[in-house]
């Protein structure tokens, strides 16, 4: 019974914050370009200048004659889960109206429990969030070379939560049923990139424009928590209710004392003390194959970060049998085993959210009017790992942009894969003299219905000279 309570507590402790983040976070994108966000992340081959940072370094070379561009706090954020939509949250996790406007906990009957479990699309629920914003973004373009420097802050998390957790919490340890938590995975981090990007345009055969660029990033890490292994499971014997299981887990974490220390109240500082560092490289190229079609290729965030200050590891690798809860010795021993051991380690490394991006753009000229183009974009993103802000599941984006009004462009996009199988995005871009503002959302569902489980918005702007 003690174990039941313990699992219940753990489950609630994990699930609730995820649900809250998935439903309360106001906006997001991936990258710091709202133009990308509004087009379902499909416009990797379309964006140029500062918008191309962290997407394809070769495309920082402007195509509109801009010499200097200064980013104005570009910001993007996304959070999403493939289970538990906003409507479900509102129905079960916000209480029931009672007297005097008070809200009391909603009682879940079996049907309600099954409805919540039904929101899982498989045996594992996923949640991720990614927030990026640029503290500094400056680009200088000359005919010899285009150079950009930037400071980009990023926090993100990827969580994989087996349906077994919720099943166990709602229906208890049904005898004979195996509860397997081995799909549990957590990766979360807070990092900051100091990047230097250079790019130049070349001509293939003296006529085909070819952009080539690279970024070198000094990455500082401020916090990390990740579960490397969680091969834990248990089953309750239907005859004796004896619980047999395995607790096999390795987790590592590191964090700056500015916010992870005990009894510390988090205080954001502009330059916290890093607890990890590493180098990252972005490589990219773009080629204008025809007058209407260009393609891009990039490898981003190649590299790793080594966490070497205050690094600790928690590990457990125990088989356990609970057959006598009246035995204090047994329960204490099992509790000790499941809690694992926590100890200092010299360092550990985690990869950067490396990915390959293939992209293309088809531009139909003189649409909707002369001098304007109607863009159709495509991008394929293949992440190489599942660290925070990344996914090894491929994502495909398609989108379009058209300037229906003077200096106002409207964008639509769709993204397949990732946390959500399909999300539809939209955005708009404005230009006022030298100031350009882009606003976009990668998922319009929250703006149309309560049945959404992800939100992603971006706002970016820059001043061009």
């Amino acid at each position: 019974m003690t174990d039941t309570r313990s699992h219940s507590r753990n489950f609630i402790a994990v699930l609730l914050p995820l649900l809250l983040m998935a439903t309360v976070l106001p906006a997001q994108t991936i990258g710091t370009s709202a133009r990308l966000t509004g087009m379902g992340n499909s416009s990797a081959a379309l964006v140029r200048g500062l918008d191309a940072l962290n997407v394809n370094p070769s495309q920082i070379v402007p195509n509109d004659g801009v010499t200097i561009s200064v980013g104005v706090l570009p910001f993007g954020a996304q959070a999403g889960a493939d289970f538990m939509d906003y409507a479900t949250y509102n129905r079960y996790f916000t209480g029931t109206s009672a007297e005097k406007g008070a809200r009391v906990p909603t009682y879940l009957d079996t049907q309600d429990k099954r409805a919540i479990l039904g929101t899982f699309q498989g045996e594992v629920g996923h949640f991720s969030h990614d927030i990026r914003y640029a503290l500094v973004n400056v680009m200088l373009s000359t005919k010899f070379l285009t150079v950009a420097v930037g400071i980009t802050e990023r926090t993100g998390s990827n969580v994989a939560l087996p349906r077994s957790f919720a099943d166990f919490m709602f229906f208890g340890n049904e005898p004979g049923k195996t509860f397997d938590f081995s799909e549990t995975a957590v990766s979360s981090s807070w990092t900051r990139d100091y990047s230097l990007t250079v790019a130049q345009e070349f001509r293939l055969n003296r006529r085909i424009p070819l952009l080539v660029g690279a970024s070198l990033k000094l990455v500082h890490g401020y916090a990390y928590f990740g579960i490397d292994r969680f091969n834990s499971s248990f089953v309750t014997d239907p005859e004796t209710y004896e619980v047999r299981g395995t607790a096999d887990m390795i987790a590592r974490y590191a964090g700056t004392g500015d916010w992870i220390g005990k009894n510390n109240t988090f205080h954001y500082t502009l330059f916290p003390t890093p607890v990890g560092s590493g180098l990252g490289i972005d490589l990219g190229a773009n080629v204008q194959l025809t007058r209407m079609f260009s393609a891009g290729f990039s490898l981003v965030d190649l590299g790793s970060i080594t966490w070497d200050r205050g690094a600790r590891e928690i590990s457990a690798n125990e088989d356990f049998i609970i057959d006598n809860l009246s035995s204090t010795e047994q329960t204490e021993e099992i509790r000790s085993r499941l809690d694992g051991k926590e100890y200092d380690i010299p360092s550990f490394s985690t990869p950067l959210p490396s990915a390959m991006i293939l992209s293309g753009v088809l531009s139909l000229p003189d649409m909707p009017r002369r001098g304007k183009s109607w863009h159709f974009t495509f991008a394929y993103r293949q992440g190489f790992n599942d660290v925070s802000g990344n996914s090894s599941r491929p994502r495909i984006g398609i989108g379009t942009e058209i300037e229906l009004l003077y200096n106002v462009a409207f964008r639509l996009g769709a993204n397949f894969g990732g946390v959500q199988p399909l999300v539809l995005g939209a955005g708009v871009g404005f230009i006022a003299d030298n100031f350009k503002l882009d606003i976009g959302t990668m998922d319009i569902t929250p703006h149309l219905t309560n049945s959404f489980s992800a939100v992603a918005v971006g706002v970016s702007s820059h001043w061009d000279i």
Partner: protein
């Protein structure tokens, strides 16, 4: 970002207004402010194993010193109980019988020496009144009337009667003619001669004559007596001598070697000393070479028959403290009586001839030189001594056979029926006594028995055959098994609640010489042993166990809606086991009694046994209990649980318990609990 256009551009304000409108439509259309999260509540089933434990007889009884496992390989459980007997300390019996002794000490030698009893000078003209003064030739001359000298002794006594005594007389002739002295007599006031000395010698001028002593034996002298004698001289032998009144005859007398029967007068202080030895062991046969007294006293009573007071000091020459004889003194008035007590605690005693206590009495009479008193030789001082309550810390010598009554020996609590109530008929049992004599003196058991009793009034005894315990030895006394079985079974259906030994022991039965100390003792234990093999078992154990439920758990228990507890009980005992639990509150009130789902008693049948009463195979039964939320709430208030475990075995088949017999309890529960349990 959009590409630059060189076409006419709308005003910037328009663009910004439009931007704001689209932005709002984009971000907030369809959005409502999210409600704050409120965690829902639900009920969930927890299926948990409560207990899985095998209780072997060895485990259950491990902490019970009463049981051991037989050593013959049968693993048969044997009840062994030890009952310590009250020790018999020698200190209570190393004692001396009270003794009283008396003596009367007389003043048989009152000494009364008067060296200057008489000292007179008689001039020549008193001796011979007829002689003229001056130079002359003195012819023979005689005093016809004789000479009489008054002896005034009122300074010393008024009357004194001698048993013996001497009057020593000397004459000194300071007259120039020889003097003959004869017919020396002691005259009373009436002139009667009381004593006389037949001495007739001529004392030359300038010479001193020492006369033979005059015996005063049997005489009574008074203060106004006279000494008389006749005197003559042969003259100056023709020579002229010059006579003057300076010329005289010196007469001195002294009383010596007196043994006075009585005296009335002024008696000086008399010092008397008596050394006495009194037999203090009498006919008891006790002999004490050396002993240290633990407690006791010697009391002296002195009756003084003198007409003068006296200071009396007693010294015990056979008893010492720190090497010095024990002594004390007291004053006794004239014709008075006084008592004093000498504390003998911690005294070292050495008796003369191992039987006699030697003491010295020193009497110093008051000085009576100012007031006449009558003292008689027969006057005495009567001394009475009482040796009382003497206990020895140690002694060497001979202690006479001493009876030790152990009827007051404490009973030891059998303590079995307090935990087991019911009926057990024993088929085998042993009782033996292990006695240890720590003394260097032997102890004899002349008449003793093991006595058992219980509160219902039943009693039985086992006789102990007479025997001796050698000095510093151990002895084991076994009782005949049939008698033991009958003895124990005679208490059925109960047990003796106390066992003990009573009777008479004799310390040093042969009066052997040796030594003993108060700390020496005879100790012992009674042992009862019987195998846990019964021809009849119908007993029960009731025990109350505290429930250690912390406040958090109590709170969580209130979140249980209902539950079912199931126990698979595998019984490998040769007895039916019935459990009757009761949950109690702090005041001992029964909060509730769990009942099985089918309403049957919580009972497991006896495992099948073979012909010897040993279990052949185990038997498993399932007991299920259902608890409602209300019962769980009551359980949360419980502070203890009282178990009554009843054992019943087949009367005909009998039952034998092995240490490996067991009860295995595997319990599991389905508890329907509220999710709020995690918040408590």
């Amino acid at each position: 970002m959009i590409s630059h256009s060189h076409q006419s551009k709308p005003p910037v304000a328009w663009a910004l207004a439009f931007s704001a409108m689209v932005l709002a439509a984009t971000l907030f259309s369809g959005c409502t402010e999210p409600l704050a999260p409120v965690l829902p509540e639900w009920d969930v089933d927890a299926n948990v194993p409560i207990v899985n434990h095998t209780y072997t007889m060895e485990d259950m009884l491990r902490d019970d010193g009463m049981l051991r496992i037989s050593e013959n390989g049968e693993q048969l459980l044997v009840v062994t109980q030890r009952y310590p007997l009250k020790s018999i300390a020698m200190g209570d019996h190393l004692r001396m019988e009270d003794v009283t002794f008396r003596s009367a000490e007389t003043f048989d030698a009152v000494r009364f020496e008067l060296p200057d009893y008489l000292d007179q000078h008689l001039d020549v003209f008193t001796l011979f009144p007829t002689l003229p003064r001056g130079s002359q030739v003195v012819g023979a001359v005689r005093s016809d009337l004789g000479i009489s000298i008054a002896i005034d002794t009122r300074e010393y006594f008024e009357e004194m009667t001698f048993a013996a005594g001497d009057l020593a007389l000397q004459f000194s002739n300071n007259v120039p003619v020889p003097l003959r002295i004869e017919a020396i007599r002691l005259l009373d006031t009436q002139g009667s001669t009381m004593a006389q000395l037949s001495w007739n010698e001529l004392v030359q001028p300038g010479a001193r004559a020492v006369l033979p002593v005059m015996k005063l034996d049997g005489l009574t002298l008074r203060s106004d007596m006279r000494l008389a004698f006749d005197i003559s001289s042969p003259g100056s032998n023709g020579k002229a001598v010059d006579l003057s009144s300076a010329m005289s005859l010196g007469v001195t007398g002294a009383l010596r070697e007196t043994d006075i029967l009585s005296v009335r007068g002024f008696v000086p202080s008399q010092q008397l000393q008596y050394d006495r030895a009194m037999n203090v062991t009498g006919s008891t046969g006790m002999k004490i070479r050396e002993a240290v007294v633990r407690s006791g006293a010697l009391r002296f009573t002195v009756k003084n028959h003198f007409t003068v007071g006296a200071q009396v000091q007693f010294s015990l020459l056979s008893a010492s403290h720190g090497g010095a004889p024990i002594s004390a003194s007291m004053r006794v008035g004239p014709k008075g009586t006084a008592t004093m007590s000498l504390d003998l605690a911690d005294a070292k005693l050495r008796l003369d001839g191992e039987t006699d206590l030697r003491y010295r009495a020193e009497v110093v009479t008051d000085d009576a030189t100012e007031k006449a008193v009558l003292i008689q030789k027969s006057d005495s001082v009567a001394i009475t001594g009482q040796l009382r309550d003497v206990l020895f810390a140690s002694m060497s010598g001979t202690l006479p056979p001493t009876t030790l009554d152990i009827r007051d020996m404490e009973y030891s609590d059998f303590n079995l029926d307090k935990s087991i109530a019911g009926s057990i008929q024993l088929s085998e049992a042993r009782i033996w006594a292990a006695l240890r004599n720590g003394s260097v003196l032997p102890v004899g058991i002349s008449r003793a028995s093991v006595l058992g009793k219980n509160v219902s009034g039943s009693s039985a005894s086992l006789r102990v055959l007479p025997m001796d315990l050698a000095a510093q030895s151990e002895i084991r006394i076994d009782f005949e098994e049939t008698q033991v079985v009958n003895f124990l079974n005679s208490f059925m259906p109960e047990y003796p609640d106390s066992l003990g030994m009573e009777g008479t022991f004799v310390l040093n039965p042969d009066g052997a010489d040796g030594s003993a100390a108060a700390g020496d003792s005879v100790t012992g234990d009674l042992f009862v042993e019987f195998p846990l093999r019964f021809t009849q078992v119908n007993g029960s154990i009731t025990d109350t166990v505290a429930l250690l439920i912390d406040e958090t758990t109590r709170s969580k228990m209130n979140s249980v809606n209902e539950g079912t507890m199931t126990f698979d009980i595998e019984n490998h005992l040769p007895a039916t086991v019935r459990v009757e639990p009761e949950f109690l509150d702090a005041s001992g009130r029964v909060l509730f009694v769990p009942a099985s789902i089918d309403g049957n008693p919580l009972q497991v049948r006896s495992a099948p046994v073979d012909a010897g009463g040993y279990v052949r195979a185990s038997i498993t039964e399932k007991l299920s209990l259902r608890f409602t939320a209300e019962e769980f709430a009551r359980l949360a208030r419980a502070t203890s649980v009282r178990f009554r475990l009843s054992f019943t075995a087949d009367e005909g088949g009998g039952a034998a318990f092995r240490s490996t017999d067991y009860v295995r309890i595997r319990g599991y529960a389905r508890l329907n609990v509220s999710s709020t349990i995690t918040e408590k």
